[in-house]
Amino acid sequence: MAKDGTRNRPLSPHLQIWRWGPHMFVSILHRVTGDGMAFAGLGVLLWWLGALAGGPASYETFSWAMTTPIGYLVLVGISWAFFSHMMSGLRHFVLDVGGGFELKTNKTWSVVCPILGVLATVAFWAILLLR
């Protein structure tokens, strides 16, 4: 079994060993927002499509749920997760082609990506609610 090989083995240094830096944060944020969306985001997406296909009555239920305080919290959370994941994902594309590995550049974009994600979320909801 897989467990036999790992029992009583020395562990590699984990999160609490390293001095924290923004690149660690943005990497973990990418996983959290991605896997968060995989559950909450795709769940709401299917509910939305299912409610549309179900007819006006089921869409009424969906609209009611999504305009409660918890509903707004979920929608704002999903939109923030999307924009954050999109920004750190674009960062990954740059890293994939070998760019942005210089220490200063890497640190800069690790800080900028999450901020851009928040700004895009604010802009989205501002346009949606203030139009």
Binding site: A2, D35, L45, L49, L52, G55, Y59, S63, H92, D96
Partner: protein, 128 residues
């Protein structure tokens, strides 16, 4: 695979050689997600409201219907690949890992089928 020499024991082990395919698909679907979800974001901002009549009229049109079907495909596929990595990182027991990947595949295919069916049903006019 022989077991007489050290090279014989090593041969056939190591990586499964499928990692690059997974890595590439994660990128291809990421591009699909970028385009299709931004289409949805802009559409939501351009629609006058999110009422049933408005949204059904929008999603029944050919281009939004096709893009939304592609969105369902791309996002579920991307999520399936991402969650597979999550499972492989944190679920070490063979049987549990197998069960997680099996459930993940069923959920991903089920989600794609349901989402695509709903959109096609709306686009072909089977709604109130």
């Amino acid at each position: 695979m022989g077991n007489g020499t050290s090279i014989g024991r090593v041969r056939g082990l190591g990586s499964a050689k499928h990692g690059v395919h997974h890595w590439l698909l994660q990128r291809f679907t990421a591009i699909g997600n970028l385009l299709s979800v931004l289409f949805l974001v802009v559409s939501i901002l351009l629609l006058p409201d999110m009422s049933y009549a408005t949204v059904v009229e929008w999603i029944s049109r050919p281009v939004p219907a096709v893009v939304m079907i592609l969105l369902v495909f791309s996002t579920f596929w991307h999520a399936r690949l991402g969650l597979q990595v999550l499972v492989e990182d944190y679920v070490h027991d063979h049987a549990n890992k197998f069960a997680c990947i099996a459930a993940l595949n069923l959920a991903a295919v089920g989600g794609i089928a349901f989402g695509a069916f709903c959109i096609i049903r709306l686009a072909l006019g089977a709604h109130a």
